[in-house]
């Protein structure tokens, strides 16, 4: 039965939940397809995640391999193909709990970096799973800085082979997914040497395990890197190469080739390849970053209307904890951020699709801007969402700490996103480099890409808000964000110039300004996110209450951002002390307003109970019964050998015999 505390929340929704779900999916037809995929996956017991929280690393890995194998069968059965409309929903339906994800990266890198001949040879083998691929770039001692990789591939003209080596311990490949136990092949990135000359990093296809009995190939040492915070189902691995020989044809050679005589030839433009790598950062946002935050919000908000604690008014029933202002302050800004990032993700996807079309027409003009946006937003969104999930976890008090809440595993998984595909600080500095360059160009009257034209329009004005309602005006808050972004970029640019003019070397000056540069990049992304949310809201249909509730969330996202960073807005007097009090007042009002629709707003994310896999967050709100039932399934409730071995002698005072 439905918990009445949740029913009452749903009865008072100010908008149509189904319409909002369709908006998030990009249309009612998409919602239908997604639900069909979810239904097909969740009704199949092989894909069940029911016992996940009780499994060991070995059991998790085995289940993931089993699911990956079964998925092939399922796709065939259902008629799903990699190019079909269902495909993108499969991963979401599995909650990512499946092996061989790197197999796709392996295939993509061959498609992008390989010659036509190589594609014709390897792609069919991979498609039919005659081999299982991985992607070995990161080393024990090297991640961010690709040029620093130490693995070597030396061309031997006599035998027409590359000889691969791991010259020292820090050069060992470390972290690649699926490599510890599963993969038979991997793409190894190594420093290419021909006739004693180093040509830099190149990709090579290397077989690491036998296709017969899965034993390691000669010269290969490989294994699992051991337990991590999450991804227990993935065998992240290590790889040591000792005089491993591969044929000349195994160097992926779309862009660079070593001819039989050892001549090194560079051909074509690598820009499209560079673009592909940039795209990965955007493609991970939806499934790896937004979904966990949306799930965490769903769990924490539903639980916060079921959980009652202390009294707000004497003599009354204990209050729902979501009625406490301090609980609203924790959760509702995360909810607003989830929507804000959903819309910025839509915007980025569209921009990248346009960029892709342009690049196919050999127009590379958009590349620097796309690179800056993908770096900055990958960093901003992963950082915000990771912090958001952790806030949701702690907002659920003690029960949030139980694995059965689902929150710890959401958190430990999402937080890896702050590091993979580019460490966030490094990425923000890349965005900052673009901003500084564009700012200098704009100051010199040169044209700059659309997303940064605002840098040229420096107007040192003041915020024009007269009362707290003015802070609900997108014009007012968007301009405030713009002002801060311009100020941080321009002042850092000036500082850099000052340092360089005073004789500091360029790279030293850069390092001395990096703290400020990171702030400028964040401010830039925050401004664009706010602006995009406001523009999206304006275009929404006014029917069914959708636009109104989205306007509230947009206001909350913007005003909360000011409230949590007042210094940036007060600095230089753009916002006055009195205006900042108005911001606070507006912010607190918005918490109370969005509180009313909090449960319908998370219902609209449309996660099934199975996909949430949380005793606290189920749709029916039967929190306590579920917690009790699930706990009893724990393996720790089988009689432990600890009693006979240690407790009994302890209790019987025969300790000395231990």
């Amino acid at each position: 039965s439905m918990n009445p505390d949740l029913t009452s929340e749903r009865q008072t929704a100010s908008f149509s939940v189904e319409k909002l779900t369709a908006l998030l999916d990009g249309g009612a037809e998409q919602t239908r397809i997604r639900r069909a995929v979810v239904e097909a996956i969740e009704s199949d017991p092989v894909f069940s995640r029911e016992n996940q929280y009780f499994q060991t690393q070995n059991e998790r890995y085995e289940a993931a391999v089993r699911k990956a194998v079964h998925l092939q069968k399922k796709m065939h059965e259902m008629g799903w193909t990699e190019n079909g409309p269902e495909y993108k929903y499969i991963y979401r339906a599995l909650s990512g709990d499946v092996a061989f994800l790197l197999h796709r990266v392996f295939m993509r890198s061959i498609s992008v970096l390989g010659s036509d001949k190589q594609i014709a040879k390897w792609i069919p083998l991979a498609t039919q799973h005659k081999l299982i691929g991985s992607y070995a770039q990161t080393e024990l001692g090297h991640g961010t800085y690709l040029q620093g990789l130490e693995t070597t591939a030396v061309f031997d003209t006599a035998t027409q082979a590359f000889i691969l080596n791991t010259p020292k311990i820090s050069a060992m490949k470390w972290w690649p997914g699926d490599m510890g136990r599963s993969a038979t092949h991997t793409v190894v990135f190594a420093q290419l040497y021909v006739h004693g000359k180093c040509y830099g990093i190149h990709p090579f296809i290397v077989q690491i395990r036998s296709l017969q009995d899965h034993s390691l190939c000669p010269g290969i040492t490989a294994g699992d890197i051991g337990p991590k915070m999450n991804f227990e189902h993935i065998d992240n691995g290590y790889l040591l190469l000792k005089n491993v020989r591969i044929p000349r044809e195994n160097m992926l050679s779309k862009f660079c080739e070593v001819r039989p005589d050892g001549t090194y030839v560079r051909q074509g433009s690598q820009k499209i390849n560079y673009f592909t790598m940039t795209t990965v950062r955007i493609s991970l946002i939806s499934d790896e970053v937004l979904t966990p935050l949306m799930k965490a919000c769903t769990i924490a908000i539903r639980y916060s209307v079921v959980r009652r604690q202390s009294k707000l008014k004497p003599g009354e029933q204990e209050a729902k904890i979501l009625d406490y202002q301090t609980q609203q302050e924790k959760l509702l800004p995360q909810l607003a951020a989830a929507y804000a990032f959903h819309f910025i993700n839509d915007y980025l996807q569209e921009l990248f699709n346009r960029g892709y079309r342009e690049i196919q027409r050999k127009n590379f003009d958009m590349l620097p801007e796309l690179h800056a946006l993908s770096s900055g937003f990958k960093a901003m969104i992963t950082q915000h969402c990771t912090a958001g999930v952790e806030i949701c976890l702690r907002a659920c008090g003690g029960h949030g700490y139980s694995l059965l809440s689902g929150l710890p595993s959401l958190y430990t998984k999402i937080l890896a996103s702050c590091i993979y595909e580019g460490e966030n600080t490094i990425l923000l500095l890349q965005t900052a480099r673009f901003l500084i360059k564009c700012f200098m160009a704009a100051s010199a009257g040169q044209p700059v890409p659309p997303s940064v034209t605002y840098l040229a329009a420096v107007k040192p004005g003041k915020c024009s808000a007269k009362n707290k309602l003015d802070f609900l005006s997108p014009d007012i808050y968007t301009e405030a964000y713009q002002h801060v972004a311009v100020r941080l970029t321009s002042s850092t640019a000036a500082k850099l110039q000052d340092l360089i003019q005073s004789g500091v070397k360029k790279h030293d000056a850069w390092n001395q300004c990096t703290v400020q540069l990171v702030q400028a990049a964040k401010a830039h992304c925050h401004y664009i996110a706010v602006k995009n949310f406001a523009e999206t809201v304006e275009k929404l249909e006014t029917k069914a209450g959708i636009q109104k509730i989205m306007k509230h969330l947009c206001d909350l996202f913007a005003v909360h951002g000011i409230f949590s960073n007042t210094g940036a807005f007060l600095y230089d007097g753009y916002t006055s002390a009195a205006q900042m009090d108005m911001v606070t007042a507006s912010y607190l009002d918005l918490l109370a307003v969005t509180r009313k629709d909090a449960v319908p707003l998370v219902d609209a994310f449309d996660f099934t109970d199975k996909s949430l896999n949380s005793a606290l967050g189920s749709y029916d709100g039967q929190v306590y019964q579920r917690l009790y039932e699930w706990a009893q399934k724990s393996p720790t409730n089988q009689m432990s050998p600890a009693y006979e071995r240690y407790l009994k002698p302890l209790l019987h005072n025969t300790l000395s015999k231990l």
Binding site: Q57, Y61, E62, V65, R66, T138, L140, T144, I169, M172, G180, S182, D213, H214, S215, G223, D224, G226, P227, M229, D235, Y238, Q309, L312, Q325, R394, G397, G398, Y401, S402, P408, L415, A416, H507, N511, T514, N565, T566, G567, F569, Y571, A577, M580, Y624, Q625, L627, Y628, A631, K633, S634, T636, N637, S640, A642, R645, Y646, L647, L650, L655, S656
Partner: protein
């Protein structure tokens, strides 16, 4: 691997330090004699083969519980054998044995035994204390229920007195009333002190404590009427069998109610307790431990992240030069050094609360409890402030270690999952902040009604003076001296005063608009929490500054002064809005603060490794491959990984079960 020499980078770092780390260690321990004794106890544990075991990262939860219970049993025996009885020394011994992790006997030793001592009658002590001391009885403390934590009065478990048999009948009437979370309850304990609503003669007399046998002595099977078990896997606390307990018409004799204070007579007559303010003392003590734990957990994370950042090289700072240590990047220093300064600040705050508590508890026996309410209010806020900050700081340290921080071999995931529940237990942090706020509001009201307040809130007395001179605050702006910690203490004081006043005024405005006090309080609680945070922040800066004068060695004092300045200035740079809005600092001064912070990063850089060495964590206690004292990180990561459970066999069984059949079919 044992013969490996020290990593050259770390050797260089240590040689370049401007002070002697062991002198700073003495400051942290409270004198060279304390350091000597701590290391002596540490050696007792580390040299004892009984306390050795496989890396816990490779064990299942059941195995980890088993290891913990084995070590706990031995620990109790050896503590008595060695005659270690001082509470702090017991704490050291325990934390070396369990390497900073919780253990199944924590509640028995930390709650069950002390509760017997303070709340049992002499007759009850005769019956229960010695068996419990000898571990024939193992007990836990069952307060929290599935549906109730913070609000004690809301607990639902009932104990109904039956005069005909002179027994209490215990019941868990609803699912939400099931006892949930008590440590050691799931598998270990055979008794529990249960908190329940007492009913006698048809009336509810509120919460009381009862000694309840839950498992059969001898077989350890649950007794009839008792349902007990483990609550399942958690984020951390793998060693601890947090449990559930459900009671159905379960009868215990009248004599099992803890009756030193309140009593139920054989006929059911209830005798009220004399007022008992001493419970304040216990709460202050436990919360002071959490402040100390915040400091230690953050120190461990900083030790790992800073040593690793000195060993790790990446990218290039100068074209053509070798890859630099990542600790040379300003962004890395900006992540780690403020946390290092914070760890030191929290050490001194923890020591202050502990000392103040001991001083006041001396007074309790002589009847002077006047300082206790303030200390109680202050420790609530400091517990929340330090645990929130340390919680976030540990994560920042882990993140600063990049991908390798995510591996369990870094040790930081373990520190995090062990520490993070302290934001919730012993008083949920937001609730704690609001308790401090209540005290601040009370003090503010006293001041506005013309009374003087004393202690840490005495700055509120100045508010009335400022009202007479409206230019006062603005005039203060130019006087803040960025290199003088005492001047920064004044700036924090002004900020706290302003936020307390602003919260008080908003509260008053809400009260003028609405009927209920509770409603007004709730609608101001965001402001109230901010006020409490500002107050705690002020107290911490003040205590850190005060500590400097006590340090005799000039080199140590110099480096601590740098850290103190960094702590204070970084706090300002992170909260510039408060200082700007109140007119305490101008925009130009904020720019100077930001600049000064960056200069201090460079000043602290040469001493960074020595500053974490001073925390003096043994490698075994640190439990981190990245944070090893000798810095031989990569070799040992490889050694560690080879022991992973997935590497037990060369070809994993999944290959034969799933992979091979698939390849055959496709």
């Amino acid at each position: 691997a044992a013969a490996m020499s020290m990593n050259a980078d770390l050797r260089r770092e240590r040689a370049a330090a401007t002070f002697q780390p062991e002198l700073l260690t003495h400051v942290l321990d409270g004198g060279p004699e304390r350091t000597r004794r701590r290391k002596e106890i540490e050696a007792l544990v580390l040299n004892d083969p009984d306390f050795q075991h496989e890396d816990l990262n490779f064990l299942s939860r059941s195995q980890r519980y088993e290891q913990a219970i084995r070590k706990s049993s031995l620990m109790v025996m050896k503590l008595r054998e060695y005659g270690i009885a001082d509470p702090e020394e017991i704490y050291w011994f325990k934390s070396f044995v369990h390497r900073g992790r919780p253990e199944p006997l924590d509640l028995h030793l930390g709650m069950f035994l002390p509760t017997l001592l303070t709340q049992a009658t002499p007759e009850q002590q005769d019956r229960f204390f010695m068996p419990a001391w000898n571990l024939e009885i193992i007990g836990t403390y069952a307060q929290t229920e599935m549906g109730h934590g913070t609000h004690l009065r809301g607990l639902e478990t009932t104990a109904t007195y039956d005069p005909s048999t002179q027994e209490f009948i215990l019941n868990s009437p609803t699912v939400t009333s099931i006892k949930w979370w008590p440590g050691g309850l799931g598998k270990t304990s055979n008794h529990a002190i249960v908190l329940a609503q007492l009913y006698t003669q048809g009336q509810c007399k509120g919460l009381h404590a009862f000694i309840v046998p839950i498992r059969q002595l001898g077989t350890h099977e649950p007794l009839p009427g008792i349902t007990v078990g483990d609550i399942g896997p958690k984020f951390g606390y793998d060693e601890m069998d947090n449990g559930y307990l459900k009671m159905d018409n379960y009868r215990i004799p009248r004599e099992n109610m803890l009756m030193k204070y309140a009593q139920v007579e054989p006929d059911g007559t209830y005798v009220k307790p004399v007022s008992d303010k001493l419970t304040y003392g216990t709460m202050v003590f436990i919360r002071s431990l959490i402040v100390g734990d915040s400091a230690r957990s953050l120190s461990r994370a900083c030790t790992i992240a800073i040593r690793y950042s000195a060993v790790r090289h990446q990218s290039e700072l100068k074209p053509g030069e070798p890859e630099p240590q990542i600790l040379d990047y300003q962004t890395q220093q900006y992540k780690l050094f403020p946390l290092l300064a914070t760890a030191y600040a929290f050490h001194f705050v923890g020591a202050y609360i502990k000392n103040t508590y001991h001083r006041i508890s001396g007074d309790i026996s002589s009847g002077d409890l006047s300082e206790l309410p303030e200390l109680h209010a202050l420790t609530a806020g400091l517990k929340a402030f330090t645990s929130w900050t340390a919680n976030a700081g540990i994560e920042e340290c882990r993140m600063a270690c990049g991908g390798h921080g995510y591996s369990r071999c870094s040790g930081i995931p373990d520190i995090y999952v062990t520490f993070t529940p302290s934001c919730t237990y012993e008083g949920e942090n937001t609730v704690m902040m609001l308790q401090t706020a209540r005290f601040l509001m009370k003090s503010y009201t006293q001041v506005t009604s013309g009374q003087q307040v004393t202690g840490m809130v005495s700055y509120l007395n100045d508010l009335s003076r400022q009202r007479i001179q409206p230019q006062h605050v603005a005039a203060r702006a130019v006087t803040v001296r960025l290199n003088d910690p005492t001047s920064l203490v004044e700036a924090y004081k002004s900020r706290a005063a302003r936020l307390v006043e602003s919260a008080a005024k908003n509260l008053q405005a809400e009260l003028n608009h609405r009927k209920s006090k509770e409603d007004a309080w709730n609608r101001t609680s965001v402001d109230l929490v901010r006020a409490s945070e500002a107050h705690c922040h002020y107290v911490i800066v003040k205590l850190f500054t005060a500590k400097l004068a006590e340090v005799s060695d000039a080199a140590v004092r110099a480096v601590l002064t740098d850290l103190c300045l960094l702590y204070a200035l970084f706090g300002i740079s992170r909260n510039t809005g408060d200082f700007l809005q109140a007119g305490i600092l101008t925009s130009a001064q904020v720019t100077q603060v930001n600049q000064r912070v960056k200069e201090l990063l460079a000043v602290i850089r040469p001493n960074a490794v020595a500053l974490v060495d001073s925390f003096d964590f043994h490698d075994v206690h640190l439990g981190s491959v990245l944070g090893r004292y000798d810095g031989n990180v990569y070799e040992n990561m490889f050694e560690w990984a080879k022991k992973s459970p997935l590497n037990k066999t060369q070809v994993h069984e999944s290959f034969h079960k799933h992979l091979k059949p698939m390849q055959a079919k496709l």
